[in-house]
């Protein structure tokens, strides 16, 4: 590990400070402001640590933590894409891959390759670890919405059916027992809100 490697690593660590300025749609639980992607990543890593027993298959919690610490770094270049925004998935995906190449490209080659491989594994949900990480990345904002009386669902006029459709597949796939509980919360939440309610 040479001095040049360290210069590259510090440049990357300096650059990713900007993730603290990427603002998400979800609020903090006290509703004082919107959450940023850096603190969101920290929170998700804590979810992974505590909840790994709920993964669909056995996972390596340490890898899931790393995946989640890393998963949003591309937003430094492309911003956060709200779940309820619509938009072209393919176009977004191409931009994020470009961002990953630029950002991870700041690192020494071996770490660049490790980061890129782990990020792609997450993006493509190619493993049990990635599928669990993806599940948590949906589970946490769902919880925020439940805990804040609807949050972004109310703001964006999202219906029960849309919530099921947008959060369900990833959570059911990666953490089926967590999804079973989500279904109960959602039924109750939308029943209380009235409007489009489940059967």
């Amino acid at each position: 590990m040479e001095r040049d490697d360290l210069s590259q690593q510090l440049l990357f660590l300096r650059e990713i400070d900007r993730l603290k300025g990427v603002v998400r749609q979800s609020p903090l639980l006290d509703r004082s402001r919107k959450e940023n992607s850096a603190e969101h990543s920290w929170h998700l890593a804590m979810y992974a640590w505590l909840l790994s027993a709920y993964a669909a298959e056995q996972v390596n919690a340490g890898r899931v933590i790393q995946m989640l610490l890393l998963h949003d770094v591309v937003e430094i270049d492309v911003g956060d894409t709200p779940l309820h925004s619509g938009g072209s998935h393919a176009e977004q995906s191409a931009l994020e891959t470009q961002a990953a190449a630029r950002l991870f490209g700041l690192l020494p080659d071996a770490q660049r390759d490790d980061f890129m491989a782990l990020w792609l594994e997450f993006e493509h949900a190619e493993s049990a670890d990635a599928q669990f990480a993806k599940a948590l990345d949906r589970f946490q904002p769902l919880l925020v919405n439940v805990f804040t009386g609807g949050g972004t669902w109310v703001e964006s006029g999202v219906s029960y059916e849309q919530v099921i459709q947008r959060y369900g597949p990833a959570i059911r796939n990666g953490a089926p027992r967590l999804w079973a509980i989500c279904e109960q919360w959602l039924a109750q939440h939308f029943a209380e809100r009235g409007g489009s309610t489940p059967n």
Copy 2:
């Protein structure tokens, strides 16, 4: 893992959302605002991941990451203690231990015990992992100060000798090669600032 465990885990995950509201002395690198302890913890975990080769002894990077994700959670109850604040270390330490007992006590027993043990290992710098984690917890704010033209050192009128004294022991102990580079930065930084300069 029973439903009751999950209720406790979710209560904890909900409670630690408040770490996003604990504001530190250090600014973001773009100086737009002060950093909070949740995003700081995320950033430190990335430091640990990338820089583990600079640890004084071989470390388990995954454990160091977990330690750093967890290390500031007690600030939810006691707030951030600025490095340049003075104040009684023993009193602060007692308050933090109380906070750890309350917060980790929200978790199922086994996880409570794991978290407490890891947090105490960090607090007491009892292992190579903890010593490296402690080093990074000083190294990151030092970098922020260097990158922002003095930051909290200028605000608090901190001298070269005080910086050496407050940051040096932890960084030198846990990551001696990083400290060697810090010494070069500090000499240059304080020479440019004038006033109290190194020899």
